[in-house]
């Protein structure tokens, strides 16, 4: 059996927008708009550069609500380039592709094989003695276990199953489509399960390998860290090396900074700069969309809460001094004032603070709900209103209480 390599990718979500980034410049827009396509181009180039025999795409190539056929043409062009390099593609359609208007109607190049929706089928590659099994989603909400009906392993070949599934234990926030278990897959007799659907890269098992490559490009702050595809090396008919290769173009990163020790904002920003410089190194030159959380008990708490925008500008300025592109997606101030050792402050300010604490619970809710209803009515479709409202419902009471407490603290008041 000859040695060869193949790539396993999934959840390309081609042309899916990057969310939550407030635009700053034309350069920013250019980088963001091209991100998912460039990541896809990186995938194609990796397959060609590594001399892969074939590429597996485990579903969700496109977004469900995507109408623009141009995305389909771009994908087909990528498939053509793989075809010209002699690389075959085996792909299945996932839940998002099933909701898409054109995903199953594209005129693919001859090197692309799309597994049918009706039943799991197999394709053989005689030159490398490989059998690939797969099935596309017949509809978007597949709730039954379709892995069970995948064909038996073909003896004397390397068997690979391509499956779009919420495998038990890895689902996270993802919908539970085509559920199955790692044990079930491990016992099916295949050598490699190329999974898709879960956006976090994970190797659930080795020999047999059960692998989620994660998505190709992070799309929002919750999809942080390196994103890309799995490059698999087969030697003597056995899976030899399984390595994740980062292909993303814009890197999402969540950083947490402990401000406990800092009493002075200048020294805090200097320390913060030191930590954030590491972020750029980890991203290997990619632009970074940063969600930064400041935490810890610090005397700077009230000042930072009161002057949130100024602090944000200071941090953005700091980021501009670092090498590489850094965009502050969100600044979360989760600091607290220093503990007052259980003493009660009987001054008016102290009493106001106590009263604010008392009111910050349920008393806020009715007015907040009324305001959220007003806002909901004004937000247009496509502006992610529901998620935003839910987020505000969670965040605002604590944030507003912190701001209110800072307002009645002594910070910033001149003596009189």
């Amino acid at each position: 059996m000859p040695d060869f390599k193949f790539i396993h990718a999934a959840d390309l979500h081609l042309d899916s927008p990057l969310l939550g980034l407030a635009g700053k410049s034309a350069d920013f827009a250019a980088r963001v708009e091209a991100a998912s396509r460039e990541a896809f181009d990186n995938l194609v180039e990796l397959a060609i550069d590594e001399g892969c025999r074939f590429v597996l795409l485990a579903g969700d190539i496109f977004d469900g609500d995507l109408r623009n056929f141009q995305t389909g043409l771009y994908f087909v062009d990528g498939m053509r380039r793989l075809g010209e390099a002699g690389i075959d593609v085996f792909m299945i359609l996932g839940n998002h592709d099933s909701q898409n208007r054109f995903a199953d109607k594209l005129s693919m190049t001859p090197n692309v094989h799309v597994f049918p929706k009706t039943a799991a089928t197999s394709r053989s590659l005689d030159d490398v003695e490989v059998t690939i099994h797969g099935r596309s989603y017949p509809r978007w909400d597949v709730s039954e276990d379709i892995a069970r009906d995948y064909p038996q392993a073909t003896a004397g070949t390397l068997n690979i199953g391509v499956l779009h599934t919420a495998c038990a234990g890895s689902e996270g926030e993802h919908a539970r489509y085509a559920p199955c278990t790692p044990e079930q897959l491990a016992n099916h007799g295949y050598d490699y399960w190329a999974l898709g659907h879960v956006h976090e890269s994970a190797i659930l098992s080795e020999h047999p390998h059960i692998v989620y490559p994660g998505n190709l490009q992070g799309r929002h702050a919750r999809e942080a860290g390196p994103k890309g595809a799995i490059l698999v090396t087969v030697k003597d008919g056995r899976i030899e090396v399984v390595e994740h290769r980062a292909l993303d173009v814009v890197r999402w990163h969540s950083a947490s900074f402990d401000a406990t020790l800092h009493e002075d904002q200048t020294t805090m920003l200097a320390a913060l700069r030191g930590e954030l410089a590491q972020v750029g190194l980890a991203a290997e030159g990619r632009p970074v969309a940063l969600r930064l959380t400041l935490h810890g008990a610090t005397p700077l708490h009230a000042d930072m809460t009161l002057n949130r925008e100024a602090l944000r500008e200071d941090i953005e300025t700091l980021l501009a001094t670092l090498s590489g592109d850094h965009w502050l997606e969100k600044l979360v101030i989760a600091t607290t004032p220093p503990p007052n050792m259980g003493t009660v402050d009987p001054s008016v300010g102290g009493r106001l603070a106590l009263e604010i604490d008392r009111l910050a619970g349920d008393a806020v809710e009715p007015t907040l709900e009324a305001r959220l209803a007003e806002i909901r009515a004004k937000l247009p479709a496509g502006a992610h209103a529901d998620a935003f409202i839910e987020q505000m419902r969670t965040d605002i009471p604590a944030r507003a209480a912190a701001l209110a407490r800072s307002l009645v603290s002594e910070v910033g008041h001149a003596a009189d």
């Binding site: 056929f69 009111l359 910070v411 009189d416």
Partner: protein, 1159 residues
């Protein structure tokens, strides 16, 4: 807390400065002129309480290291705390003993107050007082603002809330406005969304465009094909029209060929050959004649040259003789030189002959010694020269070694006699430190004895004989005593607290009763109870009258009944009057009820406090009894806890000292035991070295170490010498062996020397130097003898050559018959001259012979050429059918030329046709023309050209259409801007979210602060206003009775001043000074409120009276003095007038004036 003393060291401009604040009054007026250090003290108070800032400017003169601030503070519970602060990090506080603390030590003093809040709440200067009054004016007495700004020190809170409202308004509102950030981003969002929709396309539209593109391409291909076909036809017709004249010309030429039928078959070069054959014949005949004439002339010349054959036959011998004659001639000249060489060689050999004692003509070659013989003598000579100096040196070295060994032997014998040939079992270092160790142990022993004595004395001082007796005493530990003290202190503190509560409750009862009395002073108040009682009294009065009236039996006398009726009417009027007044006096009634409730509550508290105090006293007593019972001995000896504590601490200390002494004793014993074996070893060493021990241990050890050292030194000498003797003996053996070898070699030399010399012709008595010279002579003679022999051989060969030449020349003369002279050299030269002349003749004849042969060949060739030319003419005549002699041949050749020209013309015509016919052959062109008429062809051509022109336009249009369709399709694939529009849309969404998030945060925070303020106002409004009212009345010297609440035009609660003469004054109508006093009254009321619940802090006023006139200043000082009763006030001033105004207060014991002079 009240500050009683402040002391700074190396702080600001002062190396040391103290401020003592008397405790006799709450108000301290601290007077100091400018530069007296007032501001420094003000800052030092903050720095003491809240740490010295890292970047303080107060260290610029003395540096940071020695910077210290000390303060003493009297707490509310009367404790005095003294602490000192240094600059630094961590534990910067110390007490009077120097024990360090961190800042939590001040937590009981400061509570939750921070430096900033202390400054804003407890500090006031004239500027901030002025600004406070100004803001009261701006707020027009708003109570909420008064509470948070004047009372809470949150000066900018309301301004901040206004700023929040403004910022929130800029972000979002349900009313759309282009100035609001949300709607700006919304516009961007909607615009980008429209762009996204516009830029998108579906699969269906793409497929439609693709089909359209294919159709356009097909149409274009069709038109292009038609244009191609049409162009081909036009080309064909045009060609046909072009070739028709040429076809006709070709036909005419072909017809002319018939006239030349007789020469058609002749070869193409016939005419040329005829002309060539005629020319060749005439040329060959002329050449034959010329060659015959040249041959005859050459033969005549050769015959005239005669050559001698005898000379030719003897050529080699003559040449050899001539060459030998040259050598002989040269040898005759060289003979003298050779003889000279022989003579010189013989002269060089003269010396050798003398050394050997031979005559001058002796033949040395005969006695030349063999090379082996000379080599043998040379070897013996070299060996003897090399050996003889070494031999002498070896003899000297052997004698020298023997002397050295002798000397060493005598020194060794001397050392062994002293016993230094054996090593000691001990080393001096073992004893070097022993004296010091023993001295140390002795010293420790003395110290320990002193220590034990002191412990015993201390035990005796405590009234005990021994430590065991002290241990046997039943006595609590110091911790237990301290715990007992703390517990009793706790009970006492609680009792004092209850006393304070009781006093407060008594004051509240008194105040309440005074209020009730005041309220009731103007008569019965129409409370519900009073009305009820009046009505009950009325009913009581009425019921007998009613009964009598109903029964008609009014009893008594008329005056008595009238009295009854009057009484009833009086109660009726009273009840009605009360009922009527009830509404009017509702407020007073409510106040009365509240006062009664306060009295009742205070009474309850009073009683409870008394009960609690009694209970605490009982607890204390039972605690004292229980403690006494638990430790009867200890408490009997020291009934006072403090004394008991000192005793128990001392007791524990003695236990610890005794334990330490005991452990030292044990350690001393171990150290002594460790040293003992070493001392014994020292004794043994002394015996070994034969030392008599000294009495003093240190001297003894010193002597031992010295003797030890000397022995070790000499023993080392013995060992070194022994090793040297051993090495010398080994050297002596080697030298002797060498001497023996050289003696043997000298003997052998003497045996071999004489025979070896005889081989080189010398006698045995010859010395080494002479022998060396003789060897050198023999070596050079060998070469000279060889050279003389060679020269003599060359002379012999010269004589032989001359004889040979004479014989040869004579023989040749006789053979050739020549008569000539007898000198062989001249004869040989003559013969050579004759030979050279004969050779010249022979060369001339041999040079002409080839020319003759060549001319003969030319004659033969010319005859052959004539024959060939005749044969060619005959052949051509036969071919043309003419006579063999060649008549008629030239005519035939001319006709053949004409025929060939016609053929060439036809060929040219055909080529022309080929050019015009586009490469088609004549047959194809004829076929293409067919039978068509030229006019028909012209008509068709015109028609086709017209169609072709129209077709060009159609193709052009189709190309454009196909390109447009292709561009449309490409447009689908190319970037349409959707991606950038999506980014704009998402960016706008994110910005909308950011704006809304901030809006919600601001609005909600605003709501929270507003609600909290409302709550605090509701809680604090009444007590705060009541107390501020009292302060205000004091500070305005009765101009105002106090302050009241009112509602302004907008329905907001505001404060107004109640004038003494009746009526109210809004804040806006008050003078600046009055407003400032109102602000101050609220600040003080608020601080009093603060001090009621936690440790009060000093109120620090910095020249707050500067813009008041004397009256107002005096009144304000009185206010501060009253406030100072509960809360310390430090009023710093550099105005003498203020100090003077405080003097009457000081005289009344209500204030202290502290003068603070320049340092």
């Amino acid at each position: 807390m009240r500050l009683t003393e402040l002391r700074i060291e190396n702080y600001g401009g002062y190396s040391e400065r103290s401020l003592i604040i008397p405790e006799s009054a709450g108000l301290a007026v601290i007077y100091g002129p400018n530069e007296a250090g007032k501001s420094t003290c003000l800052e030092a108070i903050s720095d003491f309480l809240f740490s010295i800032p890292p970047n303080t400017a107060r260290g610029s003169l003395f540096g940071y290291d020695g910077m210290r601030i000390s303060a003493s503070m009297r707490m509310a519970d009367d404790r005095l705390i003294s602490l000192r602060r240094r600059k630094g990090k961590g534990r910067t506080l110390t007490d009077t003993d120097g024990t360090a603390f961190d800042d939590t030590a001040l937590a009981p003093v400061l509570g939750a107050i921070t430096r900033v809040r202390f400054g804003t709440l407890f500090g006031l200067n004239h500027d901030t007082l002025r600004a406070g009054g100004e803001r009261l004016l701006q707020a027009d007495g708003d109570i909420g603002r008064l509470i948070v700004e004047a009372g809470g020190g949150l000066r900018t809170l309301l301004a901040r809330l206004d700023a929040i409202d403004e910022e929130a308004g800029r972000l979002f509102d349900t009313r759309r406005s282009s100035t609001r950030a949300f709607y700006q981003h919304l516009d961007t969002f909607e615009d980008a969304d429209r762009s996204v929709r516009a830029g998108q396309f579906t699969r269906e539209s793409y497929e439609q465009a693709r089909k359209h593109s294919l159709t356009a391409a097909a149409s274009l291909t069709g038109l292009r094909d038609e244009r191609l076909t049409l162009a081909a036809r036009v080309a064909r017709i045009e060609r046909t029209i072009r070739v028709v004249p040429r076809l006709r010309e070709l036909d005419d030429l072909t017809t002319s060929l018939v006239a030349f039928a007789d020469v058609t078959d002749l070869p193409l070069d016939f005419a040329t050959r005829v002309l060539a054959a005629a020319t060749a014949l005439s040329d060959a005949e002329a050449e034959l004649q010329a060659a015959t004439e040249r041959r005859d002339r050459l033969q005549v010349r050769i015959d005239g040259l005669t050559v001698s054959s005898e000379l030719v036959a003897a050529e080699i011998r003559i040449c050899d003789a001539a060459e030998l004659s040259i050598h002989v001639s040269k040898a005759r000249g060289d003979r003298v030189n050779r003889q000279t060489e022989i003579d010189q060689g013989e002269a060089q050999l003269a010396g050798l002959r003398r050394m050997l004692g031979l005559p001058t003509d002796a033949d040395l070659a005969a006695i030349l010694p063999a090379r082996d013989a000379t080599e043998k003598v040379r070897a013996l000579l070299t060996a003897a020269n090399k050996r003889r100096p070494a031999h002498a040196v070896a003899r000297e070295r052997a004698a020298e070694i023997d002397d050295t060994i002798e000397a060493a032997h005598s020194r060794l014998t001397e050392l062994e006699g002293g016993g230094f040939h054996t090593a000691l079992e001990t080393t001096s270092s073992q004893f070097s430190a022993i004296a010091a160790q023993k001295a140390g142990i002795d010293a420790r022993r003395r110290n320990l004895n002193d220590e034990s004595r002191r412990i015993t004395e201390a035990i005796n001082a405590l009234g005990f004989g021994t430590i065991e007796e002290l241990q046997a005493l039943a006595c609590p530990t110091p911790e237990a005593v301290r715990a007992e003290q703390a517990a009793r202190d706790g009970l006492e503190t609680r009792r004092i607290e209850q006393e304070r509560v009781k006093r407060q409750a008594s004051r509240d009862v008194a105040i309440g009763r005074a209020d009730i009395n005041a309220l009731e002073a103007s008569g019965t108040i129409a409370t519900d109870n009073a009305v009820r009682e009046a009505r009950a009294s009325r009913s009581l009065q009425w019921s007998p009258i009613r009964a009598a009236f109903v029964a008609g039996t009014a009893s008594g006398t008329e005056p008595a009944r009238t009295q009854l009726a009057d009484a009833y009417e009086a109660t009726l009027a009273g009840a009605d009057g009360l009922a009527d007044r009830r509404a009017d006096e509702a407020e007073r009634a409510a106040s009365l009820i509240q006062a009664e409730r306060r009295v009742a509550a205070a009474t309850r508290i009073l009683n409870a406090a008394e009960d609690e105090m009694a209970s605490l006293s009982r607890d204390l007593e039972s605690r004292v009894a229980a403690f006494g019972a638990a430790f009867p001995d200890g408490t009997a000896r020291h009934p006072i806890l403090a004394s008991l504590l000192t005793f128990t601490e001392r007791r524990m200390q003695l236990f610890e000292q005794a334990a330490v002494a005991q452990s030292k004793e044990a350690a001393l014993a171990i150290d002594g035991a460790v040293l003992e074996p070493t001392i014994e070893l020292a004794g043994a060493a002394e015996r070994r070295l034969g030392i008599v021990p000294a009495a003093e241990f240190a001297t003894r050890m010193q002597a031992l170490v010295a003797a030890h050292g000397r022995h070790e030194l000499l023993h080392a000498d013995h060992r070194r010498l022994s090793k040297e003797v051993e090495a010398l003996r080994s050297q002596a053996a080697t030298v002797r062996a060498s001497l023996d070898r050289m003696d043997a070699e000298e003997a052998a030399f003497k045996t071999e020397w004489a025979p070896a010399l005889s081989f080189i012709g010398a006698t045995g008595t010859l010395g080494l130097t002479e022998a060396d010279e003789l060897l050198s002579e023999w070596a050079s003679a060998r070469g000279v003898l060889s050279a003389i022999a060679q020269t003599r051989q060359r002379v012999s060969r010269m004589e032989e050559d001359e004889a040979g030449l004479a014989a040869s020349v004579n023989a040749l003369f006789s053979e050739l018959g020549i008569e000539a002279s007898t000198d062989c050299v001249a004869g040989a030269q003559l013969l050579k001259a004759r030979l050279d002349a004969n050779a010249t003749l022979r060369t001339q004849r041999d040079g002409l012979l080839p020319d003759l042969e060549e001319v003969k060949l030319e004659v033969r060739q010319a005859a052959s050429a004539v024959e060939r030319a005749v044969a060619e003419r005959t052949a051509l005549a036969r071919l043309a059918g003419c006579p063999e002699t060649g008549e008629g041949l030239p005519e035939k050749a001319s006709r053949h030329d004409q025929y060939q020209a016609l053929i060439a013309e036809i060929s040219r015509a055909e080529r022309s046709l080929a050019d015009l016919g586009g490469g088609l052959n004549v047959d194809a062109l004829r076929s293409e023309r067919g039978s068509a008429d030229l006019d028909d062809l012209q008509a068709t051509l015109t028609e086709d050209r017209s169609r072709a022109a129209a077709l060009e336009t159609e193709v052009e249009e189709a190309v454009l259409a196909e390109k447009a369709a292709r561009d449309t399709l490409a447009g689908f694939v190319a970037e349409s801007g959707v991606a950038s529009a999506v980014v704009r849309r998402e960016s706008a969404a994110a910005q909308m979210h950011q704006a809304l998030e901030r809006y919600l945060e601001l609005r909600t925070a605003r709501d929270l602060v507003t609600a909290a303020m409302a709550t605090i106002r509701a809680e604090q409004q009444d007590p705060l206003i009541r107390r501020a009212s009292e302060f205000f009345a004091v500070s305005t010297r009765g101009e105002f009775q106090g302050v009241e609440t009112d509602i302004d035009d907008k329905g907001n609660p505001v404060v107004v001043g109640r004038r003494a003469g009746g009526g109210t004054a809004s804040v806006a109508t008050m003078s600046d000074g009055t407003r400032d006093q109102l602000f101050l009254a609220f600040r003080l009321a608020s601080l009093e409120n603060y001090g009621a619940t936690t440790e009060p802090l000093p109120f620090i006023a910095d020249d707050v009276l500067v813009h008041f006139d004397d009256d107002r200043s005096a009144a304000t000082l009185e206010l501060l003095a009253e406030f100072g009763v509960r809360n310390q006030v430090l009023l710093f001033t550099h105005h003498r007038s203020v100090r003077d105004l405080a003097a009457p207060l000081a005289a009344r014991g209500l204030a202290n004036v502290v003068t603070f002079e320049k340092a």
